[in-house]
Amino acid sequence: MSAVANDAIATAVLAQFPAVQQKHADNGRAFLLVPKGDLVAVAHFLRTQKSLRFDALMDLTAYDLLKYPSTPPSDDIAVVYLLFSYQHRHKVTLKVLAPRAECEVATVSGEWPAALYFEREVFDLFGVRFPGHPSLRRIMTPDDWQGHPLRKDYLYPDSYHGVAHLRDGQHFEGSPPRGGDTP
C-alpha cells in the first residue's frame, strides 16, 4: 500500500497518453482532462497499472457547462469520473467533455461494473449517451419523460399525462422556467 501523489499519477498517465492534459479547477483542484477517444484506454490503464490500481469508481457524474462563467464560454457537458484505489488509498479525477451536439462518451462499465448505474443516471439527467452500455435506459424519470432535467437549458413541464403540475391558481415568485415538452 503506497499512495501516489496526484502529480505523480498525472505524470504516469501523461507518459502513456500524451493527449491527456492536467488541469486545475478555479479553486486549484487538480483533474485530468481526457480526450473522448482515449477514455476507455486511460480507464483500463488506471485500473490495471500495478502502482496505480484504481479498483473503485467512487462516483461518475456530470455537469452542464452552459452558463458556467468560464473563458472561453462553452456549452459542453463535462462527465466527471472520481476514482479511488482501495489498495493504495489514492484518488484521481478524470473529466471528459462531451459536446452538446454529439453527446456521446464511451462506457467504462467494462472496467468498473458500478458504472452501469451511474451512466444510466447521467444519460437520464444529462442526455449523455454511452455507446457500449448494455441497457441504457432512463433510471430516475419515467420512460416517456421529455428532455434531460439537469441540463441548464431545461424547461420544466407544465403537466404530466394531462395532470397539471401546479395547483389551481398557484404561482411562485422566481420559480424555474416552465413550458417544456409535456410527456
Binding site: M140, T141, P142, P149, Y154, Y156, P157, Y160, H161, V163, A164, H165, L166, R167, Q170, F172, S175, P176
Partner: protein, 200 residues
C-alpha cells in the same frame, strides 16, 4: 325467565337496537385497517406510530399489505408524477367504503418540493379524493392520530346509501399551519432593530 342482574349482564345492556347501517359504521370506525404504504420520510413516522410508544393498534388500526383488505390509505410522503398513477391503482383496488388520509406537506401540496421540483406532484388530491389532510414535514405521530380520530368521526357518520361527506378536513385547521403547537410569526409586522445572529 330469570334475569341476571349483575352489571353488564342486564338485558338492556346487552341488547342494542340500531339500524344495520349504523352498526356497520360502528364496526368500521373501530377497525380501520390501513394499507402498509409508505413512500418517503413520513413513512418512518407512520412506522413509529405503529411502534410501541404510539401504538395505533389500540385504535383498531392494523397494517395490511394488500389494498384489497384495507379501508384506509395513508399517503405518507412525497408523490412523484411517476408514482401518482400507481397510487391511483392502489386506491382503485381498495373496496368501498375507502378513506384517504394525506399525511405530510408533500402529499398535501408538494411541500418543500412544490416550487423547484420538476418531478413532484403538488398534492395527491389530483389523483385520489382526500378526506383528511395532516400538515407537517413530517407530522408527528400525535398529529397522525389526531387525523385518524377526525376520520373516525366521519366514518361513524358514513351511510351506505346517500351522499358521502367529501369536505376536506385539515387537522388543526388552516388558521394553525403548524398544527397549533407553534405561533405563526407575523412576517408583515415591522421588525424591531437588530436581531438575527451571525449564523448561516
Amino acid at each position: 325467565m330469570t334475569t341476571d342482574e349483575r352489571p353488564g349482564n342486564r338485558a338492556d345492556e346487552q341488547v342494542h337496537m340500531a339500524a344495520v347501517d349504523e352498526f356497520l359504521a360502528w364496526g368500521k370506525e373501530h377497525s380501520l385497517f390501513y394499507l402498509l404504504f409508505a413512500t418517503a420520510c413520513c413513512g418512518i413516522e407512520l412506522m413509529q406510530a405503529g411502534g410501541p410508544r404510539y401504538d395505533v393498534d389500540r385504535l383498531g388500526m392494523i397494517p395490511r399489505a394488500t389494498p384489497r383488505q384495507a379501508d384506509l390509505m395513508i399517503v405518507a410522503g412525497t408523490i412523484t408524477h411517476k408514482m401518482a398513477g400507481r397510487v391511483r391503482t392502489l386506491w382503485e383496488q381498495m373496496t368501498e367504503p375507502r378513506w384517504v388520509v394525506s399525511m405530510g406537506s408533500c402529499a398535501n401540496s408538494g411541500g418543500p418540493f412544490s416550487k423547484w421540483s420538476y418531478s413532484v406532484l403538488n398534492g395527491i388530491d389530483k389523483y385520489v379524493p382526500v378526506d383528511i389532510y395532516i400538515p407537517g414535514c413530517p407530522p408527528r405521530p400525535e398529529a397522525l392520530i389526531d387525523g385518524v380520530m377526525a376520520l373516525r368521526e366521519r366514518v361513524k357518520r358514513y351511510r351506505t346509501v346517500g351522499e358521502r361527506d367529501r369536505t376536506p378536513y385539515i387537522v388543526a385547521g388552516p388558521e394553525a399551519p403548524f398544527g397549533g403547537h407553534c405561533k405563526v410569526p407575523d412576517f408583515t409586522a415591522k421588525k424591531p432593530d437588530g436581531g438575527g445572529g451571525g449564523s448561516a
